[in-house]
């Protein structure tokens, strides 16, 4: 583990109230200070790297990085956690999360063909066996892990070409008319799961960027960013993904890489650090990371075209952890919402608190994830909002599942979908 990074923690404990898992389990091993204490113990050799308790403590963390926002000493906890999990992986600790569904997902995410096949099978399942109560009950008894995986998944849309974002989209005038001159070229990173589960988000993001007079490219070469791999201790696999994405971006000729998924964006910004020790890629990766920006931040910073359609609904905004804590972007998405006429935006209490999605945490730690989810859903329902807006596919899946579970009519919407609707017609509101 990186000694300098590990030495930064001064044990002051100011992170404690920001830690979602410490609120669930009030023990030091469930908070950032205690986790760093364990990392130091392993570093000193007082605890074995393959001690299952070490892996369990490191994987109990949701990795939300709220502690980084709270930290006075600038501890890079996200990177420390990656370090620790890489050590655990190397040690092949028995305390790692179970192989299902971790291995299948880590294997499939970088391979679009397999992902699409999986999505088709999942859709078929959801429309047949998945509807039968007797089967669900039996599966629950037989393989609770598989049952959980299947129950969390949102309804998978048909994998049609309709939602594919074009390789290149020219600037467009709202409501048709002659195309305006481009302000520049941006590349849109589509993510891996997002185009399959929420295909409209990429289409909406690209269209919103085009309406804001950006030429949008989305090279075929982009692949899964590798965040999940790095967060599960598989840094080498993450590095391989990083090299693919850096090369694809360089070929695209764009100046800026726009991300519309908070988890991916935060990790794309980390490539410089990830490939720091690779002489062939260090400089290229650092340059790449410097050009990554969240779509809301890009729009607000460069000047957002104000939509004219009024909405007349009440929404609330939930901060994805890796947007607010990972990328320190809190104002931009709120400014985007504020720009939409007649949209009532009510503040969400504890909006900076993790919803429990956390990569595959909701699959590996169902109980803790459910408690975090319930807390989030309670806050959302309290606002009386008709929609909750958030910009990360994992959070969208988790929050939608939580709302489904209580039969709530509140919908989960990506800010770009809302903004596109505000540019076009209220009738075009997303599903």
């Amino acid at each position: 583990m990186d000694g300098d990074r590990l030495a930064r923690c001064i044990q002051c404990g100011l992170c404690l109230p920001s830690c979602p898992t410490f609120a669930l389990t009030p023990l030091e091993r469930a908070n950032p200070r205690g986790r760093i204490g364990l990392m130091r113990a392993v570093d000193r050799g007082e605890m074995a790297a393959d001690d299952p308790a070490f892996a369990e403590a490191m994987y109990y963390c949701v990795g939300c990085r709220a502690c980084e926002t709270a930290c006075p000493a600038g501890v890079e906890f996200g990177l420390l956690l990656e370090d620790a999990r890489a050590v655990i992986e190397t040690a092949e600790s028995a305390g790692r999360p179970p192989a299902f569904p971790r291995e299948i997902l880590l294997d499939a995410l970088p391979r679009p063909g397999r992902l699409r096949l999986g999505a088709r099978l999942l859709r078929l399942y959801q429309r047949t066996l998945g509807r039968m109560r007797w089967w669900s009950k039996r599966l629950e008894r037989w393989r609770p892990d598989v049952a959980r995986f299947l129950s969390l998944a949102p309804p998978v849309p048909p994998q049609s070409r309709r939602w594919r974002i074009p390789a290149e989209l020219a600037p467009a005038a709202v409501g048709g008319g002659s195309a305006p001159r481009a302000r520049g070229t941006v590349a849109l990173h589509p993510g891996c799961v997002q185009p399959i589960l929420f295909p409209e988000i990429n289409a909406d993001s690209a269209q919103v960027l085009a309406y804001n007079r950006w030429r949008v490219v989305s090279p075929e070469g982009f692949r899964c960013c590798g965040a999940l791999h790095a967060h599960q201790g598989r840094r080498e696999e993450a590095r391989a993904q990083a090299r693919i994405n850096v090369a694809a971006f360089e070929e695209s000729g764009a100046d800026t890489l726009v991300s519309n998924a908070a988890g991916c964006g935060a990790f794309l910004e980390e490539y410089g650090e990830l490939l720091r020790d690779d002489p062939d890629w260090a400089e290229r990766a650092a340059d790449f990371s410097g050009r990554v920006v969240d779509v809301t931040e890009h729009l607000v910073k460069e000047g957002l075209r104000r939509p004219v359609r009024a909405f007349g609904i009440r929404v609330t905004y939930d901060d994805p952890c890796h947007l607010i804590h990972g990328q320190r972007v809190a104002r931009a998405p709120r400014l985007v919402l504020a720009a939409i006429p007649d949209l009532e935006v009510v503040p969400l209490a504890e909006s900076t608190w993790c919803c429990g999605s956390a990569g595959i945490y909701n699959l590996t730690h169902p109980e803790a994830a459910d408690r975090l989810s319930r807390r989030k859903i309670d806050r959302i329902v309290e606002t009386g909002a008709e929609m909750v807006v958030t910009g990360n596919p994992g959070c969208m899946v988790q929050i939608a599942a939580g709302l489904r579970a209580i039969g709530s009519p509140v919908r989960v919407v990506h800010p770009m979908s809302l903004l596109r609707a505000a540019y076009e017609l209220p009738a075009l509101l997303p599903r």
Binding site: C12, G13, P17, E28, R33, G37, A53, P72, A73
Partner: protein, 479 residues
């Protein structure tokens, strides 16, 4: 190691609570917020009520193990650092504010209540609990009482002991006592409550605390003044107080701290400042207006380069952020930041600042100083690296001289952090051998077997009261 008999006894004594002995728990309760001090305990016990605490202490006397009570582990003197094979007591579920008695302006609270939560709860009733230690969003009332915690409002409002009206506690022998109560005047017998406040977990484990509250100030005004010399800032502090204005906050930051804050926060502080004063006055709106203008005028008269007076709460928060960021900004400069709390009479603050600078330079150590100028409580903060033995040795040497300077100026080695482990070897120098003997006698009477937080406050005695820890800072640095 704790004996098996002791562990079985602990299980029996805490059938409602929990006993933890897993390696990952022992390792994570080995330290508090004090740099360089670490010792894994023998067990962690989470008692459920006062009876269980009493049973644990009774057992400790029978079986001969040490008990170390712990709040949120934010202490800066090592007070919650375990001794070898000790039992650490935690109070995570003791977090209820049991009663807010508006008529008497008092509140009964569990020891595990977070200080800032108490602030919020009583302020909703128009009341005010002034002590505001830097870790107030994390630290607990039990720990505050044990350490007699201070904060930014000390000058006008005093410290924790000024707001403790009553206590329920378990003594080291396992007896439960209630001291004080809601009667404001109460002179029945010895003032034992005050003996337990600030006893650093060595004389009692608090099970319930009755705090005194005051009316919430109606108005607060905030000013930030920058000075080209430390002397001018010191003179401004003296003049403000001499003109019979008692600000609720009167904070100073030196040039190193200002530089760090500006580098970290980009708050737009002009260059070339040697000292920054954050001043807040509170009370009746009319008085606050007068006083804040008077304070601004004094600062300008004494050569302040720039005086900003907040006209809105947002602006006030802006000004406060410079001081709030002080420790954070300094902590980011070095891998390790050692924060101390040498305190002098307020008239000696300028002299003390000069001496700290001189001592730091002589030892080649990097120090930033900030603190509570109004009550003389300074925070010399050494930026160093735990992994560098020489740097740590230089820091230790500089701190030793800083404490000596504080004592020479009529001050103290600790204004609000406590003696704990970190400063016990300096205690006799300040209070004298007779006082230390007196303290030891009290400890011996209340805790004849030295089971409660042994080794804190005093150096281990000649008969070696409990596991000798030597100089743990040095021990750690070599580890």
């Amino acid at each position: 190691m704790l004996t098996d008999r002791a562990l079985v006894g602990l299980q029996e004594a805490t059938h409602k609570g929990r006993v933890l002995t897993a390696r990952e728990d022992l390792l994570t309760y080995a330290s508090d917020a004090t740099p360089l001090l670490r010792q894994t305990p023998g067990a962690i016990v989470i008692p459920k009520d006062a009876e269980e605490v009493a049973a644990i202490l009774a057992l400790a006397n029978e079986e001969g193990f040490a008990v170390v009570p712990r709040g949120a582990g934010t202490g800066l003197s090592g007070g919650a650092v375990p001794t070898e094979s000790s039992v650490v007591l935690l109070f995570p579920s003791w977090n209820r504010i049991q009663e807010i008695d508006v008529a008497n302006a008092m509140a009964w609270v569990d020891p595990g209540v977070v200080t800032a939560d108490l602030h919020a709860a009583v302020e909703a009733e128009g009341l005010f609990y002034p002590p505001d230690p830097g870790s107030m969003r994390v630290c607990t009332i039990g720990g505050n009482v044990a350490e007699n915690a201070g904060g930014l409002r000390g000058l006008k409002y005093g410290v924790t002991k000024d707001y403790v009206q009553g206590l329920e506690a378990v003594l080291p022998t396992g007896e439960w006592v209630r001291l004080g109560g809601k009667a404001v005047k109460d002179v029945a017998g010895y003032g034992l409550k005050d003996l337990l406040i600030g006893s650093e977990g060595t004389l009692a484990v608090f099970t319930r605390v009755l705090v005194r509250l005051v009316p919430k100030p109606v108005r607060t005004r905030t000013l930030l003044a920058g000075f080209g010399s430390l002397a001018a800032a010191g003179e401004a502090v003296a003049t403000i107080l001499a003109e019979r204005i008692v600000p609720c906050t009167l904070e100073i930051m030196d040039a190193v701290t200002i530089g760090a804050v500006e580098a970290f926060g980009n708050l737009g502080i002009p260059e070339g400042l040697e000292a920054l004063l954050l001043i807040e006055v509170d009370g009746h709106p009319a008085a606050v207006e007068d006083e804040s203008h008077a304070v601004g005028a004094i600062c300008r008269r004494l050569g302040a380069r720039r005086v900003r007076r907040a006209t809105s709460e947002e602006e006030a928060e802006d000004l406060r952020s410079a001081r709030r960021a002080a420790f954070s900004a300094l902590a980011r400069l070095g891998p390790t930041a050692i924060l101390e709390d040498a305190t002098v009479p307020r008239s000696a603050v300028p002299e003390m600042l000069v001496r700290i600078r001189e001592i730091a330079d002589r030892h080649g150590a990097t120090f930033g100083v900030f603190g509570h100028a109004g009550d003389g409580n300074l925070h010399p903060t050494c930026l160093t690296d735990v992994r560098d033995r020489n740097a740590i040795a230089r820091a230790e040497a500089a701190f030793e001289e800083i404490f000596a300077a504080a004592i020479a100026l009529g001050g103290t080695i600790t204004g609000e952090h406590g003696v704990g482990l970190a400063k016990r070897r300096f205690l006799a120098r300040q209070v004298g051998d007779a006082s230390v003997r007196f303290m030891r006698q009290i400890k011996a009477v209340l805790d004849p077997n030295h089971v409660l937080n042994p080794g804190k406050v005093f150096e281990p005695g000649p008969r070696c009261e409990h596991p000798p820890l030597g100089h743990p800072r040095h021990a750690e640095a070599t580890a």
